[in-house]
């Protein structure tokens, strides 16, 4: 056992900077995908609750497909599949688009649940006062729904950080990809255990603060109810 830690101490200066840079990339991808998911997800949610079938059905289809197939497959289709049709993406863009579109389905559901949790009576009161459905949504429903949505959105962000690992498969220079490259480069020294342990550490460094925020949001939500 102590040998493990001796090796860790020895190799630390080599491994750490590489993984640190990779973590910056992970964060970049995660934020990019999150932004795409948050914006696209709102469109999906509004379509899902629309009274027009023409909007509802495509949104439902999109959500079912995105949630029913592995994100990995979706990213492969965007990165490898589309290039056959002449549309090329670099790994990072493909990752952001793929994870973002996938996330939009999940985020859309979070939005929808938040909106539908707002009691119908309030919608009716808003409409009775002369607000259009759009105004009622903007001033009455969404402000309240937002507070309900924040904890699950925060949890989704945590999942997203971890899911970025799958883009290592399309050679995006994030944590897992760089880690595996390091393992291969240092194969004769057998320090894969140390490398992957450090990876876990970096992921934790990203997710732990988010967990704290999520817990605080939950408490705030309880207090506010």
């Amino acid at each position: 056992m102590p040998e493990f830690w001796i090796k860790m101490w020895e190799w630390w200066p080599e491994i750490f900077p590489v993984l640190l840079r990779a973590t910056a990339m992970t964060v970049q991808v995660m934020i990019g995908a999150l932004i795409v998911a948050l914006i696209l997800g709102m469109a999906v949610a509004l379509m899902r609750i629309s009274k027009f079938k023409l909007l509802r059905y495509p949104a439902l289809f999109y959500t079912d497909v995105m949630r029913g197939t592995p994100a990995l497959v979706q990213i492969f289709i965007i990165y490898f599949g589309l290039s056959d049709l002449g549309i090329e993406f670099d790994p990072v863009s493909a990752a952001i688009i793929g994870l973002g579109m996938n996330g939009a389905a999940y985020v859309g559901e979070i939005y929808r649940a938040g909106i539908e949790a707002i009691h119908r009576g309030q919608v009716e009161a808003a409409l009775s006062l002369g607000m259009t459905p759009a105004r009622a949504m903007r001033y009455i429903i969404l402000p309240q729904a937002l507070r309900l949505m924040l904890p699950p959105l925060c949890n989704y962000a945590i999942l997203l950080v971890k899911d970025t690992a799958i883009i290592s498969t399309i050679a995006a220079p994030e944590i897992m990809f760089e880690a595996r490259r390091l393992v291969q480069a240092t194969f004769m020294y057998s320090i894969s255990g140390q490398i992957y342990l450090l990876c876990a550490g970096f992921y934790l460094a990203l997710t732990l603060p988010l967990s704290q925020v999520a817990k605080r949001l939950e408490k705030a939500k309880e207090r506010w109810r």
Partner: protein
């Protein structure tokens, strides 16, 4: 002068269930109309049709000579757009049984949100008007409170202020006191009585028989989606003509 509210042969079905089976009512300007009847008689649905929260299956509604919820294009009737409908609703005030205050806004904001976002008033003007209405219902001192800190009676009074600030031509009350604890009913009835004395046109669905008798010009008894009997309060309450009216009143009063 034409009636302020005209309900013409109104029908409403939910699927195969017919809730309104042909209702026709005229309400004159300044008239106070009370609607009583057992649950399921359709009285709440009737009220909700007037501001188009429910879409009638057949029949028409006119407020101040204007068709509600639809417009006539040649000889056909067409639904209104969201904006047109919203404009019509702004002139009709609806007070809900369960108040339906916006929990994320203070009492003042609850009352001023519509003047700001519907009428387009500046924040200061909207709040001035809102405060005046809260004053009117006796709750100016609670302007900064959130609904969860208010009693039921206070919440309903804020809800009434929220309606009043829009200066509606017609006010609809859907069992405004039914969800209140008995000791809180009085404060709300007091406000409603004052509104009645101001000459407003009011239609009230209510179980408060004594109150209805006191402030109504006319009472309608509904059952099974139809008007069974109507007339001045003392006639309906003291001397009902129909058997069903008698039975209903006996149940209510004998409590």
């Amino acid at each position: 002068m034409k009636p302020l509210l005209r309900i013409v042969d109104l029908h409403k079905s939910f699927g195969t269930l017919e809730v309104l089976a042909g209702i026709s009512i005229d309400v004159e300007r300044g008239e106070k109309l009370s609607i009583i009847g057992p649950s399921g008689s359709g009285k709440t649905t009737l009220l909700r049709c007037v501001n188009y929260l429910e879409k009638p299956t057949a029949g028409h509604i006119y407020v101040d000579d204007k068709l509600i919820g639809e417009k006539q294009v040649d000889d056909k009737f067409v639904h209104l757009s969201d904006r047109e409908l919203a404009k019509e609703r702004a002139e009709i005030g609806f007070v809900f049984q369960r108040f339906n205050l916006f929990p994320h806004l203070t009492a003042l904001d609850n009352v001023s949100v519509a003047p700001r976002r519907v009428l387009g008033l500046e924040k200061r003007d909207a709040e001035e008007r809102a405060l005046a209405m809260l004053e009117k219902v006796g709750l100016a001192h609670k302007a900064g409170e959130y609904p969860e800190r208010l009693s039921g009676g206070q919440q309903q009074r804020v809800a009434i202020a929220r309606v009043l600030v829009m200066q509606p031509k017609l006010m609809l009350f859907d069992e405004a006191t039914s969800a209140l604890d008995p000791e809180l009913i009085g404060e709300v009835l007091k406000v409603i009585r004052e509104l009645a004395e101001e000459g407003r046109t009011m239609v009230m669905v209510t179980h408060e028989i004594n109150f209805a008798e006191e402030i109504s010009d006319r009472v309608i008894f509904m059952d099974d989606g139809k008007i069974v009997e109507e007339g001045p309060p003392h006639e309906i309450f003291a001397n009902p003509t129909h058997q069903r009216t008698r039975e209903f009143l006996r149940q209510i009063i004998d409590r």
